[in-house]
């Protein structure tokens, strides 16, 4: 994994090319033709809405772009730069790496999210990254609901040489988490990554199961989990806001990972989430490969959203 790879910048713009080409092209179109007037600002706002930024944030950014520039002739590139700067302002405070605090051993990371958001894959990639950084990593197959999840995590474990604590499908996730924490402690692991079953945030029963997992973990270590990572699918629209709110309430989310940014999605919802919840964004997922998890770069993301190259 030390081999040279395309720069983060290329990867990010590559991954977000849909957003950038759609948005960037449209921005250039609409501004090169005329002055920056009310109608142009409104169109800019619509473009942002189309990228899933949401009504409020889109209006706020569009207004900021217009501030002091009304009726001036502005080039497309200038508008993009201003747009990127405004988006960057919102994203900069949430660009925070997932720091492993060495005073907790094991440092326990609980990974949560709705079905199909990419939790298990994210855990695999994260475990590979941490193993490279010389941490002793252990995995817990806490998704005891989906049969393939346990096998999938075991494959990841085998690939990176991390031990996987698993039980048969259908067993109690909370007691598995307990067991995994004891095992990680006994074997002196530095980091324990706990997978959970996907759950829609409005299913009360499943959410209280998650609550129970957290509660049971505290019996082994009262400070655990030391990080709770919510994995979000970039194709999801405004519902991502509700996912953040509910998972934060139940599991105490400490940070976010957004996946599938290589897809058709634009990921603009991340800007809306940053504006509303100010939760750290650790990583973004750009593909299915083991290296396709990139540290979140607010500036780069903002530029990609604005279509600036």
């Amino acid at each position: 994994m030390t081999e040279p790879k395309p720069s983060l910048w290329q990867r990010l713009t590559g991954g977000l090319k849909r957003t950038s080409s759609a948005l960037g092209g449209a921005v250039a179109d609409l501004v090169s033709k005329r002055k920056l007037d009310g109608a142009t600002i409104e169109e800019l706002e619509e473009l942002l809405i189309r990228a899933d930024l949401g009504v409020d944030v889109a209006a706020r950014i569009a207004a900021a772009v217009g501030q002091g520039r009304y009726d001036k002739t502005v080039s497309g590139d200038e508008v993009k730069a201003i747009l990127a700067a405004e988006v960057g302002k919102i994203l900069a405070p949430v660009q925070k790496p997932l720091a492993i605090d060495g005073t907790h051993k094991p440092f326990v990371i609980l990974v949560v999210g709705v079905n199909g958001s990419g939790k298990t894959t994210t855990i695999g990639k994260l475990a590979a990254k941490l193993t490279n950084e010389k941490y002793k990593v252990m995995l817990a197959a806490g998704d005891t609901f989906r049969a393939a999840a346990i096998a999938q995590l075991k494959i990841w474990g085998g690939r990176i040489g991390a031990k996987v604590i698993a039980r048969e499908q259908g067993s109690d996730a909370a007691s598995l988490a307990y067991e995994a924490m004891e095992a990680a402690r006994a074997e002196g692991a530095d980091v324990l990554l706990i997978d959970t079953a996907g759950r829609l945030q409005n299913k009360t029963g499943l959410m209280s199961e998650l609550d129970k997992i957290v509660r049971v973990m505290k019996k082994v270590d009262a400070t655990a989990p030391h990080a709770v990572v919510l994995v979000l699918d970039a194709t999801v629209g405004q519902n991502a806001l509700s996912q953040v709110a509910e998972f934060q309430k139940v599991a105490g989310v400490t940070g976010l990972v957004m996946t599938k940014l290589d897809g058709t999605a634009r990921g603009g919802i991340l800007v809306a989430i940053a504006a509303k919840y100010n939760l750290p964004v650790h990583y973004i997922g750009l593909g299915e490969g083991v290296d396709d998890l990139e540290a979140f770069d607010a500036d780069g993301f903002a530029k990609a959203v604005a279509g600036l190259e």
Binding site: R50, V55, V236, Q238, L241, G268
Partner: protein, 514 residues
Amino acid sequence: MFDSLSEKLTGILDRLTRRGALSAADVDAAAREVRRALLEGDVALEVVNAFIVKLKERAVGVEVIKSVTPGQMVVKIVHDELIETLGASAQPIDLNAPAPVVIMMVGLQGSGKTTTTAKLALRLSKQMKRKVLMASLDTRRPAAMEQLAVLGTQVEVQTLPVVAGQTPVQIAARAVTAGKLGGYDVVLLDTAGRITLDEEMMLEAAEVRRNANPHEVLLVADALTGQDAVNLARSFNERVGLSGIVLTRVDGDGRGGAALSMRAVTGKPIKLIGTGEKMDALEDFDPSRIAGRILGMGDIVSLVEKAAQTIDAEKAARTAERMRKGQFDLNDLRDQLDGMMKMGGIGGLMGMMPGVAKMKTQMANANLNDNTLKRQVAIINSMTKKERRNPDLLKASRKKRIAAGSGTKVEEINKLLKMHWSMADMMKAMGSGKRGPMAGLGNMLGLGGGMPSAEDMAKLAEKMPGGLPPGMPGAPGGGLPAKFPGLSGGMPGLGGMKLPGGVPPGLPGLGKKK
């Protein structure tokens, strides 16, 4: 988090004191809120804009009926327009073709294609008694074919045996042949998805389509999809050609705006919705329910339907009349409590209302559950007829007797009586009903200022085919009472009500918090 659209519209439009037709300015103000609600519900921008144009055309100049607020009027128009866009009637899967009828499923990875294929197979075989064969054309994802086979065993539907090394087109041909030879009625083809809309997937799907000549091509899409839903649906429709859409994860709390977007850009009906992880969680698409959700109104339609089924209309009319005269006695209270239990108890009612989560905790705090309702009915049942008509008779010794008879405590009886008094007081106040702070409540209970006369209702019905009430929170006070006043007129009204500090006093059994 979201205020319901009707609340907002009511807020904007109810400042207009004048009556008469909706002016262009009124509609413009409302349209801004509608636009916002739709965008927050993930309806794609281009679809929203087209919708707003239509809405304006339709709403300007509409006469506002006396008993309905302009806000309610606009919500009704929006709701109708949404239903029209979504497709007024449900369109089932079409099996009207020579057997085996081939149905092809397409969609992105993770949208739920394989699960939906199995759900559909179960539905066709169990409900419609068809002999079904499923085949997975997913040669890319390692476990995809096995997954379908496992699901096949689960739903007791045959799957095509896997032959290694075949292309999707070959597998599809083999499935159709096996379908013919085996005497199958339906062959379901589950195609491979991709994480992204890519060329390879489109080519592959288009080729399968050309060769297998499916009767239905269904796009399986996640109801939580954002603005991108239009691109998704449009690409599949242009490249592969769709006959319908299946929306998955409708059991989430997403507003489901993707449904409207996809329907609008493809013109293809949404045929089915996936509503859970279980194999039988596949339902026919009901436009009015999705319309209500997009607008953030909860599943009020179902609530109203349920009310209509369970409430004895005559009894309710009698109760309403008595309420109006301020003669609300314990018999009436019992009828209301009974009605609530019939509608599925507190839990059942709550489940159908928007903004529920907040209320559930409040109710838990106030120790309210269905047992409370039962006990309150038991208390009333332990009274003599005379006592029920005239609760003032109840003094200490009578209360002791009733407590013993109903297995409760005197305090509980006191609480019930207090609740009854406050309700009766309120009703008297509303009987003289003026618009004011109580007007909302009046509406809620189907009384007071908002109560329309029979003539108003008739006028309303003329103007609005399909009737007013379904999905109109806040409106039922104006729309329902002629049919079922009292309790049922009240319940749906809760949808439009804010529930900040406490539970509405009009909801029997909820009484006052200690």
